[in-house]
């Protein structure tokens, strides 16, 4: 007789002799765990049940079992709390959406312990538009056959555009389709600290082993390994080992591998070996679509003017777009009415014209030098070497375009260059931006840096 049937027979007979309340309390979630030799092991949900059944019912249970199967000579009980997990139904849970503000939480607690993925990121909640459809297509291809189609998949683009969302969605989807796959999501900063720590604690071998046994490795913000030689070396070997075994590698970065400074050539060429795809900023229509979808999800019907205003004023960053929307929804919840255009302007003042949105000379220079990884010093302003001259020209161009500085003023900032030199530089970059995709991208990314945080 099957264990399940066996236990059902016992329960059927026991319940005749005890009160329904007692039966429900002590026999709920019990079952026969095993029947070996002549011992039946009954699993119970907690220690209270165990004590109770052992002391009050073990004789009765054994008697019933024995009449069914003469071989059963003994019965024992074991606590299996795994079965006690209550399904909380009906009770309203405190989700972020119920709270009036955007109270931030610890990201570490949302993630799955094994994969480090946040289950919130799914393909279903990812909005596809012309600006990211390439990435999306590549991602779905990877999900279909991990390790076969595009390996590595390298996604780059500015902050707040959904790179992290997409690469985590890939991980979540693969895990859903084939739960046995070992997947790991690592932000590069975490990967660096894990590697540094394991070198310090002399267990780098274990770490290597655990990384190389993965089926899918996802590294976010890979550009942070720039200048981290030891991490680059470890990552290089891990990369090769996974790649040779046709295991999927997914990387994200805020820029094209070519423009990541201070990483070794061999890594660069590995990064370029699969599929490289970029996420650009969403166009106006997509921004409106995103706002509509998100506000529908949250049950708000904001007026067209307000959505227009948001879409027109926040252009580069989807995260900020959502943040603006949340502000408006909070207003609606607290005041029980939709914000008018005037109210929306007031509410979003901080977001749209916050100090970070007003830039200055220092910020632009800093963004350019950081982007091209140019050391501090006067070289940037004066050197004639090519590695400095193009960044310098871009800096001049941005000073002109973003700050409306005069040509001669810019010239003075760059070691007293003539205003005609500045005019030439600006024209050159303007032309390159139109004609050359690479330059266009670089400028976009620098602009994002200038205007983010």
């Amino acid at each position: 007789m099957e264990l399940e049937n066996l236990w059902q027979t016992v329960l059927a007979q026991i319940q005749l002799n005890i009160s329904p309340a007692n039966f429900a309390t002590w026999f709920a979630n019990t079952k026969i765990l095993s029947f070996e030799n002549d011992i039946v092991v009954v699993s119970v949900p907690n220690s209270f049940s165990k004590e109770w059944l052992e002391q009050k019912y073990s004789k009765d249970i054994l008697k019933i079992l024995h009449t069914i199967d003469e071989n059963i000579k003994n019965v024992s009980f074991s606590v299996d709390p795994g079965k006690t997990k209550k399904i909380v139904s009906g009770k309203k849970t405190i989700g972020k959406d119920d709270v009036l503000t955007e109270q931030l939480g610890f990201k570490e607690l949302e993630t799955n312990k094994d994969t480090n993925l946040n289950p919130r990121y799914t393909f279903e909640s990812f909005i596809v538009g012309p600006f990211n459809e390439m990435c999306y297509a590549a991602a779905t291809a990877v999900v279909e056959e991990p390790g076969k189609n595009y390996n590595p998949l390298f996604i780059y683009g500015g902050v707040g555009l959904g790179k992290t969302h997409l690469i985590q969605a890939i991980g979540n989807k693969i895990k859903e389709d084939s739960p046995e796959k070992r997947i790991k999501y690592l932000p590069a900063e975490k990967m660096i600290s894990v590697i540094v720590n394991s070198i310090k604690n002399h267990n780098i071998e274990e770490l290597k082993k655990s990384l190389r046994e993965l089926d899918v490795l996802i590294v976010d913000d890979i550009q942070f390994i720039a200048g981290k030689d030891k991490t680059q070396e470890e990552f290089f070997h891990t990369f090769n080992s996974l790649y040779q075994k046709n295991k999927q590698i997914i990387l994200s970065s805020d820029r094209h591998p070519n423009t990541i400074p201070a990483i070794t050539e061999r890594l660069k060429s590995r990064f370029k070996g699969g599929m490289i795809t970029d996420m650009s900023s969403p166009d106006y229509e997509t921004r409106i679509a995103i706002l509509r979808k998100k506000s529908e999800e949250k049950g708000a019907d904001l007026s067209k003017d307000v959505l227009d205003y948001v879409a027109n004023n926040i252009q580069r960053n989807i995260r900020e777009l959502e943040s603006a929307l949340n502000r408006l929804i909070i207003f609606k919840k607290t005041n029980n009415k939709n914000p008018s255009l005037e109210e929306a302007k007031k509410l979003l003042k901080n977001l749209i014209i916050s100090p970070s949105k007003i830039t200055n000379y220092k910020k632009i220079i800093q963004a350019v030098t950081e982007f091209y990884d140019i050391p501090n010093g006067n070289m940037f302003f004066t050197s004639r070497k090519k590695e400095f001259s193009k960044p310098r020209q871009i800096a001049m161009y941005l000073l002109k375009k973003e700050l409306k500085m005069s040509f001669s003023e810019i010239g003075r900032k760059f070691g007293g260059k003539d205003h005609t030199t500045v005019i030439h530089s600006c024209q050159l970059i303007e032309k390159l931006e139109e004609e050359e995709e690479k330059t266009h991208q670089e400028i976009e990314l620098i602009l994002q840096r200038i205007y983010s945080n």
């Binding site: 610890f106 943040s323 607290t334």
Partner: protein, 376 residues
């Protein structure tokens, strides 16, 4: 059953165990306490099947015996006892309590129906100063998560390490950690010879705080697979006074150390009482969202605004290091951390306006409180 006991003792016992009984519809026996009389001792127990409390007191026993009696009723009776000592008898499931000019009879139930509180192997245990555990728990117990989505964080995490004990709680918006250190293991003994970790449900932790009194005594902790037992002792004789038996929360506590930021981009040092007062003052205008804004540049400013009632602008002296910052918090969350600090000054370190911020008492590394901002 027949015994004589000091009314004060009897009241104390009922009081300690009665709290965990309640209206239990499926198993009405749980609304009762179990009174057992043994030689020289009375034992009173109550349980709700997640948590059990047993209390022992001295008594003069004429005849041993046991009975289950409705807890709330017994508590009311104990509350009005005026005699110095009372005689208590049981006959045919009826309990008779008799003083000089006083006599009541209470209908009880057979002790056989009362659940059996699980026993423990007492070979190995942790012995620890009870007052320190109590103080530590008070510091952390209120930030436990009330949500059932992540059961692991719905309790207090106990970590018994070599010569320190850590108590940790988080509700995913803030985290508090208390480190109790025992230099030279004075007041702390771990017989398991290894690190012992478990998660105690919040309610059990609160009960534990209640049952530990203010004296410096030792508390023993025993473990079984899924339960934990806390035991305190009578001060007069070498006998347990209270046993608190609780379920442990299943699962692994999150690796919370990763949440605690190593260094801040902005750091302020400020007088605690003053800061607490001003946070409360700004909180008046925090509105329904409880939001207050800290502006840190040359000095520290606190700002809050409620569209309907008005606004507050407060500035207070602070030592400021690092970059300028404007960051927003739920003021109640700040208070929850600040009230646990005894030192006169605190540091508050920030990771920008959207990263974990950390409050620490100056000159006391035993406590820290990590709190997440509200997105600006």
């Amino acid at each position: 059953m027949n015994f004589t006991i000091l009314s004060k003792e009897f009241k104390k016992g009922i009081n300690i165990v009665e709290k965990i009984t309640g209206k239990n519809l499926t198993l009405p026996i749980l609304d009762n306490v179990l009174i057992e009389v043994l030689s020289n001792f009375i034992k009173i127990s109550a349980t709700d099947l997640e948590l059990g409390i047993q209390w022992w007191g001295m008594c003069k026993t004429e005849k041993e015996g046991k009975i289950a009696v409705p807890a709330k009723l017994l508590n009311q009776i104990a509350g009005v006892l005026t005699d110095e000592k009372v005689n208590i008898k049981e006959k045919g499931n009826t309990l008779t309590i008799e003083g000089k000019n006083y006599k009541t009879q209470v209908k009880g139930f057979s002790a056989d129906d009362f659940p059996i509180i699980p026993g423990f192997s007492k070979d190995n245990f942790i012995e620890i100063n009870s007052k320190k555990i109590k103080e530590g728990l008070i510091n952390v117990v209120d930030v436990v998560s009330l949500s059932q989505i992540k059961p692991e964080i719905s309790g207090v995490y106990f970590s018994f390490q070599k010569d320190i004990v850590k108590l940790v709680a988080t509700d995913s918006f803030r985290l508090s950690e208390k480190t109790i250190s025992f230099p030279n293991k004075q007041g702390y003994k771990n017989m398991f010879n290894e690190e012992v970790n478990f998660i105690l449900p919040q309610r059990s932790a609160k009960e534990l705080i209640n049952i530990i009194n203010e004296e410096d005594k030792s508390l023993r902790i025993y473990l079984s697979e899924s339960q934990v037992l806390f035991e305190t002792f009578l001060s007069t004789v070498d006998h347990p006074e209270i046993n608190l038996i609780s379920r442990q929360i299943e699962g692994e506590y999150p690796s919370y150390q990763e949440i605690i930021p190593k260094e801040g981009k902005t750091k302020i040092t400020v007088n605690k009482d003053e800061f607490l007062k001003q946070v409360k003052a700004a909180g008046i205008f925090g509105g329904r969202t409880n939001e207050i804004i800290l502006k840190i540049s040359k000095n520290l400013e606190i700002f809050s605004q409620d569209a309907d009632i008005g606004e507050a602008n407060i500035s207070l002296p602070a030592k400021i290091e690092g970059s300028e910052l404007k960051v927003s918090f739920n003021w109640k969350f700040l208070i929850d951390g600040l009230v646990n600090i005894k030192s006169s000054e605190i540091t508050f370190e920030f990771q920008g306006d959207d990263g974990p911020s950390i409050i620490r008492p100056v000159g006391d590394s035993s406590y820290l409180y990590v709190v997440m901002p509200i997105k600006i």
